[in-house]
């Protein structure tokens, strides 16, 4: 899908990357300032690096110094940015029909499919100023797709949205991937999004590629987890498979001696190690062991640390040999009287545990 070898220096920062990927969705992961957007702009042709070879879907778009230079408008790499950047002087329809050929595309079956997937029909005749943030981002996505791009360039498309809308846009992107089959270069600093959407992933740090591979593998490496922790608080665990309970629909994973985590049934043989991901929001805490609950996991654990961050409280727990994070509201943390060393029971639904391979 993409092959890239680029050295580009701008104002004291140097992007120096070399990678190739078959995609179809390549995640570019890294903390802010790691060069993600610079890389994306090199692919888009908005930056003209002195020394670069970039090919998109086997087409050489940049071979410098001396060789090919395809300007951005002929690269067919449509950009969707953090802010929707709709053209303020055009209507919603005008924005969607903006790209060359998009006007006809909008009337065609494939165009209607895009409108359908992104739920744009009710927005068509509205003024862009009256759209909400999530709606604007859907229009921006539609505008990009209607240009019939060879590749979508997504620059943190969810980060200006609140959590719920971000999840909605993410699921739309997943649909775009599965139904419209458009290759994507997806810049993000959210581990969860990376795992949900990307097939392959390049981790950037200070302008250099520090690792590449399937998101699961990349994120389970300590160095990349450092990046993930910088920006998210997802639980990433490497656990050994104990046994499968096929009738019960669960696989038991070892959290420590005598402590097992019931995860969705997986194919890995007992004795193998698997990665699982778990959002801190999905962990519920209880002071006593409750009876008669559907959640398959009620794990006794100790609170090791509590940190308050704005309107949320992050509780770190020790379960057997593993540690786990739970995110609570300050009122819940207060009502439970949580402190370092408190014994609690962590309730986790099996479905909240994501098998990462």
């Amino acid at each position: 899908m993409i092959e890239m070898r680029t050295r580009h220096s701008v104002r004291g920062f140097t992007l120096d990357v070399h990678f190739e990927s078959a995609g179809p969705v390549l995640g570019i992961f890294g903390a802010s300032g790691s060069g993600k957007t610079t890389l994306l702009h090199c692919v888009a042709g908005l930056l003209k690096p002195r020394d670069a070879r970039i090919s998109v879907n086997t087409r050489m778009v940049c071979n410098r110094p001396g060789g090919t230079w395809v300007p951005p408008e002929r690269r067919k790499c449509a950009l969707v940015t953090q802010e929707p950047l709709l053209f303020p002087h055009l209507s919603t329809r005008g924005n969607l029909a903006y790209a060359s050929g998009a006007k006809d595309a909008l009337e065609s079956d494939s165009g209607w499919k895009i409108v359908d997937v992104l739920r744009l029909k009710p927005l068509l005749d509205r003024n862009t100023a009256s759209l909400s943030g999530g709606e604007k981002q859907r229009v921006a996505l539609g505008r990009a797709l209607l240009s019939k791009p060879e590749m979508l360039l997504l620059d943190e498309p969810t980060s200006s949205l609140d959590a719920e809308l971000a999840r909605d846009v993410l699921s739309l992107l997943l649909q775009v991937k599965l139904e419209l089959k458009v290759p994507m270069l997806f810049v993000t600093h959210k581990a969860g999004e990376l795992m949900a959407l990307a097939d392959d992933c390049v981790v950037l740090e200070s302008g250099k590629v520090i690792s590449q591979g399937a998101p699961v593998n990349v994120l389970s490496k300590p160095r990349a987890i450092g990046v993930a922790n910088l920006v998210g608080v997802d639980n990433l665990l490497r656990l050994e498979v104990l046994r499968h309970d096929e009738a019960g629909g669960v696989t038991l994973l070892a959290m420590g001696a005598d402590v097992a985590l019931a995860a969705p049934l997986c194919a890995s043989a007992p004795g193998k190690t698997v990665s699982v991901g778990l959002y801190a929001d999905e962990v519920m805490l209880c002071l006593e062991n409750p009876a008669g609950i559907s959640a398959r996991n009620a794990l006794a654990c100790d609170v090791t640390r509590i940190s308050e961050m704005g309107h949320e409280v992050l509780v770190e727990l020790k379960i057997g040999l593993q540690s786990l994070r739970a995110r609570l509201t300050p009122s819940a943390a207060h009502e439970l009287g949580l402190a370092q060393g408190t014994h609690v029971v962590a309730l986790i639904k099996t479905s909240a545990i994501h098998m990462l391979g």
């Binding site: 300007p71 790209a99 990009a144």
Partner: protein, 228 residues
């Protein structure tokens, strides 16, 4: 009310100012855009050259124009050998003088409003398959249009008031180069000319006021639009 001669003066002034805006609007847009978007050391030099008539005494501007466009001047004589006509002391010379002194206001108005257009919109446009030219026409220009109109209105008002350069390059020929300021100057030197001066002064103030209000209103509109 205005006398016949005064009406002629006002109409001629409007014609001269109108033509001066018409001939300078396209180069004004190009230079305003260039000054906003082009990053090159040569830009400062070019920008200074365009801005010069704003700070130069208009009489000096007129003298430079006369030197260039006069009968023996390099452009004036070339024009004569091609067309057989002259530029100096014609209505065309009035238009040129008015356009030159109004041009900096036009360019600056356009430059500022192009600067107000989010460059990322231009980036998105290009990634959607629209080249530099199409992006300029479809995104940059429509979004900076209020600034273009404001710049045009200001330079129109400036052109109406042009005196120094006009009197040098175009003289004071009734019906051809006698615009409002030149007519006021003539009336001031004539016995009993005061009532005419008052009337023309009133017309000038009214036009200038309307032009400024329109320019301010467009400027505010542009700011609202950019912040939206």
């Amino acid at each position: 009310m205005l006398t016949g001669a005064e009406t002629e003066v006002v109409l001629l002034s409007f014609q001269v100012a109108g033509w001066s805006v018409l001939v300078s609007v396209v180069p004004g847009i190009l230079l305003g855009w260039l000054f906003a978007r082009w990053h090159n050391p040569a830009r400062a030099l070019l920008q200074g050259l365009v801005m010069l008539p704003l700070v130069l005494p208009p009489v000096v501007t007129g003298y430079v124009l006369l030197w260039l466009l006069g009968r023996s001047g390099p452009l004036g004589s070339a024009w004569h050998s091609v067309t057989g006509g002259h530029i100096a002391y014609t209505t065309a010379a009035c238009v040129i003088a008015a356009a030159i002194v109004g041009f900096p206001l036009m360019v600056e108005g356009i430059r500022l409003s192009v600067l107000g257009v989010d460059r990322r919109l231009e980036d998105v446009s290009r990634s959607l398959g629209r080249g530099r030219g199409a992006t300029f026409l479809r995104v940059t220009l429509p979004l900076s249009l209020p600034g273009v109109v404001a710049g045009a209105v200001l330079s129109f008002a400036r052109a109406l008031g042009e005196f120094g350069a006009t009197i040098v390059i175009a003289g004071n020929i009734e019906g051809q180069t006698r615009t409002i300021p030149v007519a006021v100057y003539t009336l001031l030197n004539a016995p009993g000319g005061e009532p005419g001066v008052m009337r023309l002064a009133g017309v000038s103030v009214a036009i200038a006021l309307v032009a400024l209000l329109v320019a301010f209103w467009l400027g505010a509109r542009q700011r609202r639009r950019v912040s939206a």
